[in-house]
Structures are given as structure tokens and as C-alpha cells.
């Protein structure tokens, strides 16, 4: 198991290095002279050159990349070009906000979609299965801002049961904060439901069709014992893997949802940074997102290997 996890860790590190090169390359293509963008059209060429020198953007690309990455590794994410303050001081609060929103979405979507998928599998081929499968498939395809708009119109404006603003008043308690996050989290949940439910359904069907399930039934175990002890244990493994891959989407969905609900999260930061061409902010926030995503995948690998006896007892994947 240690070998399996070490291998995954090494692969994640390689991916992270490639991602940082990719992000840096794209951020460097951002058009325009950095000093000119910051100072505006009326600044003298000398002032622009001086600011460029001060920011270090007149150095060779390789040097700039190295200083960015090595500083990043030491926790120095650079200085925002727009706000002229350390990136981390702005990003920290946003990251916490985003994690809150993602956590609410996660807590909603995982049990709902697993129950939905398993239920569909147990009713395979019948109306309930068809409805769950087709609804999931359709919801997955609808852009999150579209379903969010419908949710706002229904729950926020027509029924007036949920606040349409995602930001709770300052000093609000835990439950109030959750209440404010329900609508944006529900929009993210709708997109993810289909994927996870489909995986849970497929895994459950495979387990239901297996020899060990038939044996369990034939030895006279009751249905719910068979399902709990034999079917679910096997069917949920691929589901965990899919939940991990969807973390990437969840973070991307935050960009759109946070803009829609005007919520100060990391997605909103990336959006504003992209709009204002604040490229130090942009490249560092994108790298932070990549790290969050890769960490989530590693945690999923860890859970997967703890639950899967084939890996737990020393086999390789």
C-alpha cells in the first residue's frame, strides 16, 4: 500500500511541475507591457521601464519562472499587480470561503447521488431507474449558471425561502452561513449528481450480477444484509474514484457560481484577476487550485486503498 501511495504522490508532483510550467507559459502570453498596464497610458517610458525592472518582468523567462516557483514553494505567492499587496493576504480569505461553499456542495451531493444511484440500480429497468438516470444525465449537461438562475427564480424570488445572496451577514452563526450557501451549493450539486449517481448505479449493478451476491442470497441472508455487506462494499469503490475526479469540476464550477452569487471566493479572485490582467494573482491562484485538486485526488487514493483489500494487502493497482 505504501508503494502504491508513493507512486501516486510522485505522479502528482510531476503533474504539479507540468501544471506550473503550463500556467506560467499562459500567464506570460497575456498581452501588453506589465508596467504600462499598471501605470496607465500617461506614464513616461522611463517610469514604465523602472516598474518593469522593479517587478522583475524584464528578466529572462526562465529566471522569472524559477523565482516564482521557488518563492511559491516557500509560501511567498508574489505581489498582486492590481492591489499592490501580497497575493496570499487576499487569497487566504477567498480560499476559506470557497472551501466552505465546496464543503456544503460536497455534503449535499455525495449522499444524494449515492442513494440515487444505488436506488436506480435496485430498480433496474423500471420507471424509477429511467427517471433517475435520465434526470441525472440531463442535469449534468446543464451549465451551472443556468440551473442556478432557475433555482434563484424558484426558491429565492417566487417562494422566498432562501436568500439569493451567498454572503451571510458578518458574524453570522454556522447554520445561517450554511443557509446562505444552500442555493449556490445546490447548483453545483445538480451538475455533479448525474456523474456520481451513474457510477454508483453501474457499480451496484455489477456487484448485484456477481457470483458472490448470488451465493450470499443462496446462503439465505436477508436482502438488506446482502446489499449492505456484499453489494455496497464493492460497488462504492469506483464511485469514490469518480468523486475524486469531479473535484476538479467542482472547483471550476466555483468560478462561475461565485461570480453569479457575487461571493468572495477563489473563483471570483481568478475571474477578477483575469479581467484586470493581474497576472501574478492569476498564476498563483491557479496553481493553488491545482494543488487543492491534486491533494483531493491523493486523499481519494488514500481512502480507496484503505477500502480496497487488494491494495491494502500489498498488491499494486
Amino acid at each position: 500500500m505504501a508503494r502504491f501511495l508513493l507512486k501516486r504522490l510522485a505522479l502528482a508532483l510531476v503533474t504539479l511541475v507540468l501544471v506550473s510550467v503550463l500556467v506560467f507559459a499562459v500567464a506570460q502570453v497575456l498581452p501588453g507591457n506589465v508596467g504600462r498596464n499598471v501605470l496607465g497610458g500617461f506614464a513616461t517610458p522611463a517610469a514604465v521601464a523602472q516598474l518593469n525592472h522593479q517587478l522583475g518582468v524584464d528578466r529572462p523567462l526562465w529566471t522569472q519562472y524559477w523565482s516564482w516557483v521557488s518563492n511559491f514553494a516557500q509560501g511567498n505567492l508574489g505581489t498582486s499587480l492590481e492591489y499592490r499587496v501580497p497575493v496570499w493576504s487576499l487569497l487566504q480569505a477567498s480560499l476559506v470561503n470557497s472551501l466552505k461553499l465546496a464543503a456544503v456542495a460536497f455534503v449535499l451531493v455525495v449522499p444524494l447521488s449515492i442513494i440515487g444511484g444505488v436506488f436506480a440500480a435496485l430498480r433496474r429497468g423500471r420507471l424509477a431507474d429511467r427517471v433517475i438516470t435520465l434526470t441525472g444525465l440531463s442535469l449534468t449537461a446543464i451549465p451551472e449558471f443556468v440551473s442556478a438562475i432557475v433555482l434563484i427564480l424558484v426558491f429565492g424570488l417566487a417562494l422566498r425561502v432562501l436568500p439569493v445572496d451567498a454572503t451571510a451577514p458578518p458574524g453570522a452563526g454556522f447554520l445561517t452561513q450554511v443557509k446562505y450557501l444552500l442555493l449556490p451549493a445546490a447548483a453545483l450539486t445538480l451538475v455533479l449528481f448525474g456523474y456520481i449517481a451513474r457510477m454508483a448505479r453501474a457499480g451496484t449493478i455489477e456487484a448485484l450480477d456477481s457470483d458472490y451476491t448470488r451465493t450470499a442470497y443462496l446462503k439465505g441472508l436477508r436482502t438488506h444484509t446482502v446489499i449492505r455487506r456484499h453489494v455496497l462494499r464493492n460497488s462504492l469503490l469506483p464511485t469514490i474514484a469518480v468523486i475524486a475526479t469531479q473535484m476538479g469540476y467542482l472547483i471550476g464550477g466555483l468560478v462561475v457560481i461565485e461570480k453569479l452569487f457575487n461571493y468572495n471566493g477563489i473563483g471570483q479572485r481568478i475571474y477578477t484577476a483575469a479581467q484586470n490582467k493581474d497576472f501574478t494573482m492569476l498564476q498563483s491562484s491557479v496553481l493553488v487550485i491545482a494543488i487543492v485538486y491534486l491533494t483531493a485526488s491523493l486523499i481519494a487514493d488514500l481512502i480507496y486503498s484503505l477500502l480496497n483489500p487488494r491494495i491494502r494487502y500489498g498488491g499494486t493497482s
Binding site: 503550463l22 440531463s138 446543464i142 451549465p143 438562475i149 476538479g248
Partner: protein
């Protein structure tokens, strides 16, 4: 291969295609999906004929609720929402299919190369696409569109390039199982070149997964382009694009319940992506049989 064998193969393929088509027509999900997509394609082509008002003309009649004169009301600039709803199909139906086509052509080529040749090329491409997929699609798209500047062409290229590794992964998996079949070593022993084996022998046998993948990707292309447009990095004003209508009008919801300005374009996007997914579902059920 003799001329006779070639015509026989062609005839067999044609009859297989006819059979697939018949199966598709009898699939309810496919027919419903195709009808909805057909309606929006019709709107994209003939919107200028059927629109009751000009979708770009502004009037003093701002934010009027739906009425007989304005079936879906008017937006904050007094433009007729119904006309914009009909005309909004065009931009997305130009950009998303073009991006999908780019991704399918590039991804198929890449998938054939990596799946058939394996080795170092395969390893490098897999690593690179894994790095690309480790970032949320919309984030890379936003960053690249900002770097390259707004234009329809940029949108097509960015979405097309981002989807290429995903298509390549599907094609590669199909090629990997296909290259173990007898006809591949047979062609190689005949002395065919790698290019011929890949494109003339393997490609015709992996079209089914490619068609399914292409339909699914089309749905996601719409998803991504609409998301980019909503964020302000996609289709630009004054286009009647649906996502742009939502983006322009949703901030008004805080001031009053002007639901008609956002609900109708939202339903339009939803119906289009659901229809494309129904088509994809229909095709995959027919081809997997």
C-alpha cells in the same frame, strides 16, 4: 484486395449503416433529442425571417413583462426577448460544433498515434494531458482567452484544443484493444505502412466510440462556451446569445423580479444541452448493442 471485395465491403458497410439508422429512428430518446436540436438549428438559420421584432433594436419600453405584443417581455434596453430568444441559437450553434470538430479531428489523430505507436510519444502525451486535465477546464479557458483576446476564432480554438486530450484518451483506449485483433498484424505483415494501418484499417473500426464521444463533447462544448460567455470571456455584445442575455440581465434580479429576461434564455440553453445528451444516449445505446 480485389475490386469485387471492395464493393462487397462497401455494400456491407452501407447496409450496416442503414440498420443503425433504423435503430436510431426507433429510439425514443434519440428522436426527441433530434427534434429539439432540429428546432434550434431551424431558428439559427431562419431567425431573421421568423423574428417578430429586430433582436438588436432598443426601445423606450424597457423591462416590460410578457404580453401579446412582446411574448417574452423586453430586456433592460427595451429589446424584444422573444426575438432574441429565437436568434440566440445562432452563435452557440456556430461556435460549439466548430470547436467539437476541431477536438474530434485532432483528438482522433492523437489517439491513433499514441494508441498504435505507444512508446515515448504515448508517455509524453499522457503526462501532458494529465497536467492539462488537472486544472478546471473553465479556468484554463478563461486564462487563455484573456491571453489571446476575444474573438469567435479564439473561442473555437481554445475549446477545441482543451477538448483534444479528452477525445484522444477515448480513441486511444479503443485503439489499444483494436490493435490486438488479427487484422492489424495481418496488415502489417502485408507490408502496409503505419499511417495506412492506423487510418485505413483501425479508424473505420473505432468510429462508434468516436461518434458517441463527439456527441458528448458537443454537449460539453456548449456548456463551456456558455460558461465563458456568462463570465464575459465569450460571445460579446450586442449578440442575442442566450448566455450573454443571462449575463446582461441577472444582476437586475436583486432590484426586481424581472424573471422573463433570464428564464427564457436559461430554458433555451437547458433544452439544447439536454437534447444533445439524449442524442448521445440514443447513439451509444444503438452502437453498443
Amino acid at each position: 484486395m480485389s475490386a469485387f471485395a471492395v464493393t462487397a465491403t462497401a455494400a456491407r458497410r452501407r447496409s450496416a449503416r442503414r440498420e443503425t439508422l433504423r435503430a436510431l429512428i426507433s429510439s425514443k430518446t434519440f428522436v426527441v433529442g433530434a427534434a429539439i436540436v432540429g428546432w434550434w438549428v431551424f431558428c439559427a438559420l431562419f431567425a431573421s425571417v421568423i423574428e417578430p421584432h429586430d433582436p438588436l433594436t432598443q426601445s423606450a419600453d424597457v423591462l416590460a413583462p410578457p404580453s401579446l405584443h412582446h411574448l417574452m417581455g423586453t430586456d433592460q434596453l427595451g429589446r424584444d426577448v422573444f426575438s432574441r430568444w429565437l436568434g440566440g441559437a445562432r452563435s452557440i450553434l456556430e461556435i460549439a460544433p466548430a470547436a467539437t470538430l476541431l477536438a474530434v479531428v485532432a483528438g482522433t489523430t492523437l489517439g491513433l498515434l499514441t494508441g498504435y505507436l505507444r512508446g515515448a510519444v504515448d508517455d509524453i502525451v499522457s503526462r501532458l494531458s494529465e497536467a492539462l486535465l488537472a486544472l478546471p477546464m473553465i479556468v484554463i479557458a478563461v486564462v487563455t482567452v484573456v491571453a489571446l483576446g476575444h474573438s469567435t476564432l479564439t473561442l473555437v480554438v481554445v475549446v477545441g484544443v482543451l477538448f483534444t486530450p479528452i477525445v484522444a484518451r477515448t480513441v486511444r483506449a479503443a485503439v489499444l484493444s483494436e490493435r490486438e485483433r488479427d487484422y492489424v498484424p495481418a496488415a502489417r505483415l502485408r507490408g502496409e505502412r503505419a499511417g495506412y494501418v492506423m487510418f485505413a484499417e483501425i479508424l473505420p473500426n473505432v468510429t462508434a466510440p468516436i461518434v458517441v464521444e463527439a456527441t458528448v463533447r458537443l454537449g460539453y462544448a456548449i456548456f463551456t462556451v456558455a460558461g465563458l460567455t456568462f463570465l464575459g470571456f465569450g460571445v460579446q455584445d450586442p449578440s442575442p446569445d442566450w448566455a450573454l442575455q443571462i449575463s446582461d440581465n441577472y444582476t437586475l434580479l436583486a432590484a426586481g423580479n424581472y424573471w422573463w429576461t433570464v428564464l427564457f434564455p436559461a430554458l433555451a440553453i437547458a433544452s439544447l444541452v439536454i437534447a444533445i445528451n439524449l442524442i448521445a444516449d440514443g447513439i451509444s445505446q444503438v452502437t453498443e448493442r
